[in-house]
Amino acid sequence: MGRAVLKEVPAGAKVVALPGGNPGVVSLPAAASKPLSARLAPWLTSLLVNIVPPMITVALILLFWQLAAHGPQSSLPTPTKIWAEAKDLITEPFFWNGSQDIGLGWRILVSLQRVAIGFSLAAIVGVLLGALVGQSVWAMRGLDPVFQVLRTVPPLAWLPLSLAAFRDSQPSAIFVIFITAIWPVIINTAVGIRNIPQDYRNVAQVLRLNQIEFFFKIMVPSAAPYIFTGLRIGVGLSWLAIVAAEMLTGGVGIGFFIWDAWNSSRLSDIIVALVYIGVVGFVLDRLVALIGTIVTRGTLTN
């Protein structure tokens, strides 16, 4: 690994020098540069270790599926049949042959756009409400029981009500995303803020930080790991809810595509869509987790 560098600090600090001249200060190991091949080798190894086992699992599942669904009386298509029937959907996510005959990539993007709007709103409102509940005992006493009840309501149960309120499917779907994603954000933010160490609060008090400075400079960074846990749960729930909501509201999204395919008995298309949804959900989860790791860098360790 890197080599430790023993660095002498110049004794002539501006006003005061430590008695005895120069204390040796050992700096942390510096990253040493190595040839590219040497740096790539462990990376490649870890790639192999992480990629090969799931590949084998998927191959086994496909094989088992092929054998199980094989036969004339089988009600579900085999992988080879799916490939034959829905090849265009798999290989070309972004084709465009008119308003209802479009690639799954486009449909996913439309659904993602709804999730993006609903989830962003949920993130902003959720962090603010969570901050209120975490910071104020009275807000917690008043709001927490309400939140605890509302968060157990299944996402789709909100849909008729929001359709009645907005009279349009697009804002209704976004509202369902919002109301689904907001609870874990609120609850985790509140826990994070209740867990801000008293030391940080003391620092803020000595500095006389005002409410807004305290929110941005102490509260959000300190509660960031908790907030991102909430966001990660929230984005997962959003993706769960959007598919169900789109099945009912119609339009372009991936959810409606599944419903439409079911009505036209295109089972192969449904299975392809399921894989798309799974992969996108996985990517969303990892994306929020990655942003969380970058943003909260250094927050947890003290």
Binding site: V16, V25, D199, Y200, V206, L207, P221, G298, T301
Partner: protein, 263 residues
């Protein structure tokens, strides 16, 4: 009139129906530029006393007057160096000090002046070289140096040190004590330090305030340490005044006010 006047302070903590009287009738006058240590067994309320001066803990009765004006809320003119350094882990060393400097001098100094002032304070504690490191990447002693730099950077009227070296190993502690002595000599700050280390108290202080055991702790004795400055650790080992002062504090703590529970 004294610089800082602690005037007949009482502190009672209420918890439901139970109440604990921590401090009883504590009075103390501190002059400008003085280095005062408060020593006592654990649980005697010395940290509570410091928090009251800082304004972090409300007083039950009595008052704290700084330059004749009553203080009862926290503020940067009474900067605190916390026992566990309390640096914000998501900020670099530079940004931790910058948070204080920008808040305190935001309107009064230009950006360049503030930068110079941040670096000046980091250099003062010999931490200029680590300005881009995060607290997790530096040692405990270095963290406390940054904590001291942050306190000094607020240009406080009084610097309050809450067992600043308690969590450090003996060698690092000695280094930092020397640093503090140098800073005190150079800047002439008024400092109040909470400690439970007798040698540290005698080495650094002009006066040592000895607290009796709680509950209802009060000031038992105040000892003047008449040692010339600058003080040298090695010379003091055989110095008569030093030995006498050390003996006086030890006798107070272990003969007259022995802490029975601390077995």
């Amino acid at each position: 009139m004294s610089y800082l006047k602690i005037d007949h302070i009482d502190k009672t903590f209420q918890r439901g129906a139970a109440s604990t009287n921590v401090l009883k009738d504590v009075s103390l006058d501190i002059e400008k530029g003085e280095y005062v240590s408060v020593i006592g067994h654990s649980g005697c309320g010395k940290s509570t006393l410091l928090n009251i001066i800082a304004g972090l803990t409300p007083i039950s009765a009595g008052a704290v007057l700084l330059e004749g004006r009553e203080v009862n809320d926290p503020g940067p003119e009474r900067a605190v160096v916390f026992q566990n350094h309390s640096l914000l882990p998501w900020l670099t060393v530079y940004d931790n000090v910058a948070l204080a400097v920008n808040k305190v001098f935001g309107g009064r100094k230009s950006k360049a002046e503030r930068h110079d002032w941040i670096m000046h304070n980091l250099d003062l504690v010999q931490m200029g070289h680590a300005k881009d490191k995060r607290p997790a990447e530096i040692s405990g002693g270095m963290k406390q140096r940054v904590g001291i730099a942050r306190g000094l950077s607020m240009e406080p009227k009084i610097l309050l040190l809450d067992e600043p070296f308690g969590a450090l190993d003996a060698l690092t502690r000695a280094h930092l004590q020397d640093s503090i002595m140098q800073i005190h000599a150079a800047l002439g700050n008024t400092m109040i330090m909470i400690t439970h280390d007798v040698d540290e108290a005698v080495l650094l202080s002009d006066r040592i305030v000895m607290m009796t055991n709680g509950p209802s702790a009060r000031i038992g004795e105040v000892l003047d340490v008449r040692l010339d400055r600058p003080r040298k650790r090695l010379d003091l080992v055989s110095d008569r005044t030093y030995i006498a002062a050390r003996e006086a504090v030890l006798k107070f703590l272990y003969e007259r006010h022995r802490f029975v529970e601390a077995a």
